[in-house]
Symmetry: D4
Subunit: 161 residues, 8 copies
């Protein structure tokens, strides 16, 4: 199955955070690809990646980066696809630099930003984007939401006991 | 034409900020609806809005809110659609409270967050989500990106002169 | 004895923080109930919980949540009772997101916010609310304050020695 | 009618912010008193005010202060009543100093903190505390919440039109 | 020798931070006293402590507190002596709450604030205040500054080697 | 009368903020001098100023600076006198940069920091330092504190009326 | 004279801030060019600009950008020249987002960051970089520093008078 | 080979952070010197160091400091050379105080600031400054950038596998 979501990050050191995006897509059986595409170390390849993404069949890109996190915004500038940005926290500043570097994009070039280290939600957001155009996937998302509900209900039961 | 994007906000006082989302959708001739759906003042109606959104044909929801901004996250909890959150700045704190209240969602319930007062990008992000499944719209998004390029190029010319 | 305070939280992972609220109520022999009521995973049940709280005899609700913490504010929107919000700190941002998401409520829907991880004070605040209408409890609160004084005095003695 | 809520502030310059608390209590026909009680300029009188508040029939104290805002916390240390703190913003720092100085109270001495400049919600919170013990007032609070709902619904109608 | 500096703190749990103030005064052979004086748990005793400090022969007070840190400011409101505030960091927020609660005092009631956990500098600041009126102590402060210089010079030598 | 307090600032543009320090000293009839002593534009003269301050009879230095505010800390490194730092706010960041640049001094070199733009308190703090060694001035400081009390009491009367 | 410094910005709306860099270079008679080079609207042209900068004879690039400010960092990734970043403040957040987006670059790709809106210092920094390799320019920089000193000295005289 | 870059820091405790600057210069075979030059403990020697730097043949100074970090700015005030500032993080505040103390320099005295603890980039920035005037070094910087690219490409390969 050809990948419909691209998960990219500036360095493989971001993988422990970004892995959760892949896992979320696995749960929905959505095909994805994973790659290192560094805005700062591979700027030309990064631009090529973004330019070709739509033509290669991707429907969304998930990009994680930390500190002066330029990858999500730069990809958004060269692809017409929705780009989801994951602020990866560095050793200092708790990811506030990563968050602001990703979310505060200028008018014209949006990045769909999730929480600091929120890669799982990045995967789920990509799944929702696809589900909006896929009744079967939409149904699965509703089931997933019901499961969240069931789990929380179960936790409540245990806590009350 | 039936609306495919819902633009909602907690109060009509958010409209001066949120209007830019509508305008962006207009530019792409995407049908949308606009409503006041307050998480805090109309919680039950807000939940109903979210629950019915997908069945009514919406493909994405854009929600703006300020301060302890709960509308985007609450909608995301009751719809399987992608929800785009716009942090509306209040008189104090420059929208930092709005931003964190929207972007820091727990795992399981994503909100695609844009910049403080970034409603135009919310509209463009919705357009990209649709464009990923609509070749014609994808082409228009590419044209739009080219226009941004042309305008910036033109500005450079004037500045150099 | 029928519970007069409800202690709720978004997940049982908040219990290590929220437990201190229960312990404070125990010290004042105030009956309470404990439950998981997630704004994001159980939105409809959360609303039902809030709507029925007053009729079930509760006089106050203590709600803990972290990150984009919507539980206290959403409960406050569906109950006429005072809601006390406890900002539970997540791994990043030291609870600043939780604090702002809870305290910055819009005019009309108040949440009585305590410090980051300040669940003990949430319990004591509920006790004060009840004590204002219960002479016996008021007396015990004054004794409690005297004990704080005695303990601090004792610490001073030991430090001076 | 004897006052059941005390509204105090460090200086009459806080009145433009704090007035909204009085107005909220007026709407619920709750009797209150207003005074300047400065923690830093009248420390002994401030302590006396707090010590006598419960015996004079008050059921709650609303205290507003800015910057190194010590009034709410100091009152809470000498009264067994619930104290509601309103962070009054100064010229710089947008009230963040006021907020942290009020909300971050040590375990043992709670302050029910509302949003920056959120005096209206302080009044409504006091009303809720009273309503929890007064069926008639509880009913009025429910009506008030319904009115908020009606107004928001009306705003939605106008926006859709 | 009668104490000329009072070192006080809200709880003996602040002692590991505040000890450095005592040690600095020891190095200058300045007599001091140490006590627990809690603004929130011993408000009346705290006020008495401040009121009597000057008459008991103190020339400066060093006060450490954390979170909503009211001790330095409240002491400053009841003594005409200079009060030095030490922001003690709590588990969350890195002492930013403590710092703002101490430094942002209203006009009329100054607190001489040092860095987060900067108790050693609080002791040295008290020593400087005394030295300004004591030629012998002034000389020792100059020697101390020379020693700092010598140590740094020595460190440079070792680093260059 | 020979000056006993030096009020210095990095630029005469700081004077509108710093003037309040001079006015406070005037109220206590404390002799002072005023000068521009820029750490960044006159580093050598700044060091000379600090080195000679004690010998010229000064008992305290008040230094105001904004942004990367180095003047208070640099003076403290070359004088044994107490240095009081006033964080002057710049156009951006609300003085948070000025505050941290002044208050976060390393162990060994204290600066007595007051609030953002808190020059009046800097003057009052210098007056307290002198008063600790001058019974007559101590008496005047107590009168001043009583006047603050009287004014606040009067404001309360007017508000209650 | 061929330009040795490139001043670029994301939009001509940044010019009112960036103009000060040009003026500083004018004072030192350093030849420069000015252009709009947007990382987000002209990504390919931006990369070409950076790639050719050194070969075209530039010795340094000054880049200003606001919000999620990617221009300085992206240029630094494609040129071996030193890049100076100027954080341009947007309407909200006082330039803190711009600052962190520029300064927090990952190891390997440095950006020489100046203060929020500090374009004049960006120009002076470029001048210093050139002066380190140009005795005549070094002399002029020393004269410039002396002039700063003279002006500050003069301001002191006027203030003392 | 005579040193062309000076690496200085306020204390040898900064060496574990600053070492990375030396290592980067080693990689480019750029001669440097290392020293402890404390703005606060050796102010006169610090000024002498800065005044003589250019005459001793240095082309750039790298200065690291933490908290109220004055060393980079003070050196910049006495040398015409470019000064690169490294914000060294202290135990609290994550280096935000260090960053603002270094980057927010007043107009006239620039400091080229790198990221919190970003000493490696400080070394690379110095190398770029030199490379702009040294074709051979410029070539090596380009090779270095290619190596970064190769490594990132390799990481991508491994991740895809």
């Amino acid at each position: 199955m050809s990948p419909v979501v691209g998960i990219v990050m500036g360095s493989d050191s971001d993988w422990p955070v970004m892995e959760a995006a892949a896992k979320a897509l696995d749960e929905f059986e959505i095909a994805y690809e994973v790659d290192v595409v560094s805005a700062h170390r591979m700027p030309r390849e990064m631009i090529t990646y973004g330019e070709q993404a739509a033509d290669r069949g991707l429907k969304a890109i998930i990009a994680g980066a930390g500190g002066a996190a330029h990858l999500p915004g730069m990809l958004a500038s060269v692809t017409p696809l929705p780009v989801i940005g994951v602020p990866v926290p560095l050793k200092y500043l708790d990811g506030m630099d990563s968050l602001l570097s990703i979310v505060q994009m200028p008018a014209g070039v949006p990045v769909a930003t999730v929480s600091v280290a929120g890669a799982r939600n990045a995967g789920l957001l990509a799944a929702r984007m696809l589900a909006a155009h896929d009744e079967e996937l939409l149904g699965r998302m509703r089931e997933f939401q019901q499961e969240l509900n069931d789990q929380a209900t179960e936790k409540g039961k245990r806590l009350r006991a």
